[in-house]
Subunit: 428 residues, 2 copies
Amino acid sequence: MTATDATAPDDLDAMMLDIGARARASARALALTPGPRKDEALKAMATAVRTEAEAILTANAEDVADATAGGADKAFLDRLALTPERIEAIAAGLDVVAGLSDPVGSVLAAWTRPNGLMIERVRVPIGVIGVIYESRPGVTADAGALCIKAGNAAILRGGSESLRSATAIHRALVRGLNEAGLPADAIQLVPTRDRAAVGAMLAGLNGAIDVIVPRGGKGLVARVQAEARVPVFAHLEGICHVYVHAGANLDTAKAVVLNAKMRRTGICGAAETLLVDRAVASTHLQPLVAMLLDAGCAVRGDAAVQAADRRVTAAAAADWSTEYLDAIISAKVVDGIEAAIAHIERYGSHHTDAIITEDFTAAERFLGEVDSAIVLVNASTQFADGGEFGFGAEIGIATGKLHARGPVGVEQLTSFKYKVRGNGQTRP
Amino acid sequence: MTATDATAPDDLDAMMLDIGARARASARALALTPGPRKDEALKAMATAVRTEAEAILTANAEDVADATAGGADKAFLDRLALTPERIEAIAAGLDVVAGLSDPVGSVLAAWTRPNGLMIERVRVPIGVIGVIYESRPGVTADAGALCIKAGNAAILRGGSESLRSATAIHRALVRGLNEAGLPADAIQLVPTRDRAAVGAMLAGLNGAIDVIVPRGGKGLVARVQAEARVPVFAHLEGICHVYVHAGANLDTAKAVVLNAKMRRTGICGAAETLLVDRAVASTHLQPLVAMLLDAGCAVRGDAAVQAADRRVTAAAAADWSTEYLDAIISAKVVDGIEAAIAHIERYGSHHTDAIITEDFTAAERFLGEVDSAIVLVNASTQFADGGEFGFGAEIGIATGKLHARGPVGVEQLTSFKYKVRGNGQTRP
């Protein structure tokens, strides 16, 4: 099929439903594929990506040229552009996924009932995962690999600007599937720039899609969450807090706050708000604020924070619920842990929040009461990442409370079923 | 608030949003309530149900009188009517839930990263559960109790015909909450017969409802699944199969088939289709079919099954996808395990399916390949029940693949979060 910019609606619907049906059919085969075969395919994909590096770079150069001509900004072009190093990183990522242990078939629980029925809860694939992403072509490989590893078929829909690059990478993935004898339909790339394809996926392709994972900015995620008729694993934003408690060690606070805000400002686990307890404001506030400002971070504070350093500007009401994804932080003095937790519950996004304290009771209270996917004590919010959790790789972070919460790795891309073995039991 | 039949739309919306907001607020308190306090409340509810039995019976008599006057059929009236025995069963059910172990706070996994970060995955409540049910007033207590046990607030919407009964039971539940010092808003009953209240719940009450559990017939579940803008734990139907494999012991097959179909015909785990392998049709088909017919079960079969007993009528195409919930079974001879699995995948509802065989390889293949929430070997499909699984109690059975699958007990009404403890770790 050739990539197109727009398709007649009927043709598009038919094409998308066909993609869904083929994904569903291949998911059944994939669910029963032993782990070593899946790993063989993943390794063959890595090899194919390396072998076809030249073709991928050529396709990417065309995407970049079009995007440049279209006036794309520097950040966009940086996400879009591939280099030999980035292609090697894509291939290496496939090898990493191949090396993870197979989640499918593992027995999550097993027990025997008084009547002798032996019940097992066993991990199985979910089925078909739809992944909707933007300009980074490498997501094609990451997402496809994680879905396959967990025994799922993947339907990938990348950004229209990166379609040639994604198509070239996808060709390498299919080559890997073929070499291992897995169905080529197990990873499909939607071959059109037509945005109606996204709508079709969000409608579920007639029941063919079990879950949608959006990977991209807030605009994409918000659209997916609003329109999807199937479950979504996603977070809309990461408004992460670091709360410097009355019992905080200042050195720990400085190290963690600086890292949480400034290591990388554009990731969802970056801190967006600093809360400093009034009990230590006289000793901790000025050094923390000065450190951030000296590191090039703009600080928007309440009156107390503004008083700590003349470079601080006034925070507006909207600042407390803003995800800057930039070298900007909002900062506030709070009256104790209860006020800190209340602030986080009111303005946070239930993603990742940290407390800095040497006080055991306060630490445990924060861990218990803050209703976020990830809560940390004395550690940077930037650890909110599947790799850092030891999951090997992740397809995203979820802030929903059902099924997947926090980093979404291969285990979170599985479901389970009950296997019950008896010897003629009937129910009285 | 007084029960009403219809409310001005603005008033209804405001009332429902208020219910949602109060549920959300109480959920936060409930999530932090220690298990013994929740159990104290549950036991006080049981006591209150017993104490107020008279008032509940009086309210119920009015509901029954209205329903009778309205021409309700016998089955409906049977579901609606309470007796002293049924009220005692409701109270005993509350005591059972009090006796279950508290799922909240249990550590599902714990590991330490090379950098010293200690990561725990800990069970937490989901938040607010909306339960939409029909005429059985006892669901008010069952559902409310399970939600509370798992640390969730409940918003209950019962059938309009049972509103007086549900209100009387709800009063006893609130008395139990009060006695244990838990927020009365933790279990709210929607106090109107206005059906628009259901629509408001399905829209999620402005984000206040985390998950909806419908309990009732196919019409209710289908509406909920089609309209809900929040996740749903449910099954639409239970088209359960028993496949008598070539390696089946006839006595086992007879015991299991009879029980799976006839123990209770109206439950979702009742078998609706019998598949007999052609390899044993000559020996097993006639005895199985005759047994069912003799037990009062109508059999609708393909040509081979019709040939086995003249009382068998011809199955129409629709029979293979019909959930009878009655003393009727469809029956078919299949060519081997592959054909049996293909039939189940095509016509089944991914609920519960069983194979009868002494052949280990066939049993394991069936367990592996049939993509249903529950797959059994040599045991009745009627074991599809949270109590039979050892969950103590269940709020329903789910056939979705995300979060909850199979019986939905207290554990399935929880989520989890990650608690991460460090000593100043920053991300390189």
